[in-house]
Symmetry: C2
Subunit: 423 residues, 2 copies
């Protein structure tokens, strides 16, 4: 499927005179001929002609420009004026015969870190966080990521979920796991009694508690945004800042209700991405991650619910089985929780039914001396309380699953981890 | 328009036998009859009958339940089993004649801060951040906010923009305005040479620089997410954490291109919200903010581009004019930038063409001693540079404009400002 640039060109080709001007991204008309704007992704000399592939970033497929030999380099930005013609090449409907090429921005091929003939590895391009979007691989990744985000939002909208912007700065430690980032105005040392927010404030590790607030008024809510861990790790599986999809469903007392939504969302988002970004996904499967064992088509055929059965094994046994398996695997950690682990990626989803019994919560909070700090949480169970549960899915890990990308740093625009906060 | 709950009920009513069971949010069937789940929003006794309004949060319109007198309180959660009937009331197609009502979660009307007969002010309900979603007004606000987010994303998708998740944690100070939050692992005092990220790291004040990175590979990109200011203000116009929509357009050298996108986005999002959330918006205009002077219909008829003309006045004169005006107002701050100010709300949008001249940028960075820290920014102009520009719009201020809400704290689920970080 040819996207924006191509449709615009095709439309033009089929419907108008050769002296129409097309200026991308916003098409306009003048007397100078058709013209396109973009970056040179390949240069090939053949006899008297120069064949350029130019892209404006809207899709993987470039526009072919036929020019007389000129000094044009890989990576430069050009404005081409000429005549659109049917292409003799079967894989491209049109090509632009250039009358004039204006170099908008030069690119020195010696200094530019990406070379015209090389297929650079993800490791190599990762060294250039400010330039890697200019490679085919990372350009495709960013289009896929954008489309996957659309897919997540549309799944939830179609299924009656309200999108809640849960806060980034919070005074709660939802998971109680430590590894929090603390937040204070720059240039001020945090003191016990002089916080900007009057209490110590942290970057969120999960929107769960805030979704629980909402699940007292909406049957179905979700949030999709960044979460944080101050984990001192350089591993290929962890980031200090990563995206989570979290949902909370009210009036439910069964884990199956939750795994059904989890499965449905995973399938629906995967199908959407495969359908809308087929060329970009193909690039990954063919050239970037050709060794990717578990293909998304296989994922789709494996029902989480089928796999969800109460296995009477320990956590270590599960890990042992996982290490031998190339299939997705659901591991119930207790009576009311579920984790979905994927080989090579780690925990993709985790969900649970929430404790609704007021007395039990009250006792527990008193035991740990938090009954005042969490009195609001008790209030939720005091006024019109309903049974509810929810789950979270790591968005980067979802992308890793679909594309077979090993390192989580390669599926996020600007990765943050210990000792690294480029740009 | 009756949404999820109602369509489900209607469908059931029109298509199946009276002994079908509807369990919301996931409809299932059994032999017990139709049943609905939700929260009691009103209780009215009339002769032998009790009329309840029950909502599941999917829309403003409640489901009417007809029951024999039982002890049911405002705010409690109920599960109702009975028979769906056509309602004699013209404004509701169906009502549920209850055979059995199970109180899922009680609500003590004395302790519950919202009272059945009162119309609470936004100021009053703001005191209960964990419960205010249970009021009609804030429930409507959250549905409107969710739909407005959808509108923003669909506008950009339809217009060929790629969604970029710009980072929250950054080592840059985009606006150079100070008022940054610094980030360090909790329990560690930040030292000059021992940062988690090896450099001082802050919460983003704008995704602009990261979008500029992307505008070297994509013609059109946008980001929509939280941004931060450590502003020591309790004003009704400022938050420490708020949402921004930011877009960057490549291959443009005119401010008009940018104001066209700004205007188009504003109109399209406003129209979407007014169409999809008409009942919820009406609630605001009729009961919550009846004094709202500038209605969105008027906004839509005012073209930003018409107002955009080079006024030869000072900033103070502009402010003076603004204070007398009830219209939107565009104020050009220099030759290549534009701000859109709205009376009562403040700056709604700001945009500019970016400096692309390498020499000029280099000299300026050398002057302020930042040529090493921003060498990546110079690289953007060195390899295939193109002229580009962009703008940002405050999402909360957009909602304030549409709804006529005075205080920014009333249009965000969990407001953060100095001395306040509840929950």
């Amino acid at each position: 499927i040819y996207k924006n640039l191509f449709w615009a060109f095709l439309l033009l080709f089929c419907s108008s005179s050769p002296c129409t001007v097309l200026t991308l991204p916003v098409p306009t008309k003048s007397k100078e001929g058709a013209h396109g704007l973009g970056w040179v992704r390949s240069v090939r000399a053949q006899k008297a002609n120069l064949f350029l592939h130019v892209t404006d970033g809207s899709c993987l497929q470039p526009l072919q420009i036929v020019a007389s030999s000129e000094s044009l380099t890989f990576g430069s930005a050009v404005e081409v004026t000429g005549v659109l013609k049917r292409s003799p090449h079967p894989r491209q409907p049109v090509e632009l015969e250039a009358h004039h090429i204006n170099v908008v921005g030069k690119c020195n091929p010696v200094e530019f870190p990406f070379k015209i003939k090389d297929r650079h590895s993800l490791e190599y391009i990762r060294q250039y966080p400010h330039l890697r979007c200019r490679t085919n691989a990372f350009g495709s990744l960013l289009r896929i990521r954008s489309e996957a985000a659309t897919a997540i939002h549309s799944y939830f909208k179609k299924n009656g979920f309200v999108n809640i912007h849960t806060p980034i700065i919070t005074s709660n430690d939802c998971e109680g796991a430590g590894e929090l980032f603390q937040v204070e105005p720059s240039g001020q040392k945090p003191k016990e009694d002089e916080n900007f927010f009057s209490v110590p404030a942290f970057l969120t590790v999960s929107g769960q508690l805030h979704l629980e607030v909402m699940s007292g008024a909406f049957s179905r809510v979700y949030t999709f945004g960044p979460t944080f861990r101050a984990e001192n790790s350089q591993s290929r599986r962890h980031l200090a800042e990563f995206y989570m999809v979290e949902a909370e469903v009210s009036f439910t007392q069964s884990l199956e209700d939750l795994t059904e939504v989890m499965e449905d969302m995973f399938k629906s988002a995967t199908e959407h991405v495969l359908a809308e970004c087929s060329e970009d996904v193909d690039l990954f499967h063919k050239y970037v991650t050709p060794g990717h064992r578990v293909r998304p088509e296989i994922h789709l055929n494996v029902s989480l619910c089928c796999l969800f059965n109460k296995l009477d094994i320990t956590y270590s046994e599960a890990i042992e089985i996982l290490s031998r398996s190339s299939q997705k695997f659901v591991f119930p950690t207790d009576a009311a929780a579920v984790d979905l682990l994927v080989p090579g990626v780690g925990e993709l989803c985790g969900g649970s039914l929430r404790e609704e019994r007021l007395d039990l919560l009250k006792n527990r909070l008193e035991q740990v001396g938090l009954e005042d700090a969490y009195s609001w949480y008790l209030d939720l169970r005091q006024f019109g309380s309903v049974p509810h549960g929810g789950f979270g899915m790591g968005f980067e890990r979802f992308l890793q699953c679909i594309l077979g990308v090993d390192n989580i740093k390669d599926v996020i625009p600007f990765p943050r981890f210990s000792n690294s906060c480029s740009l």
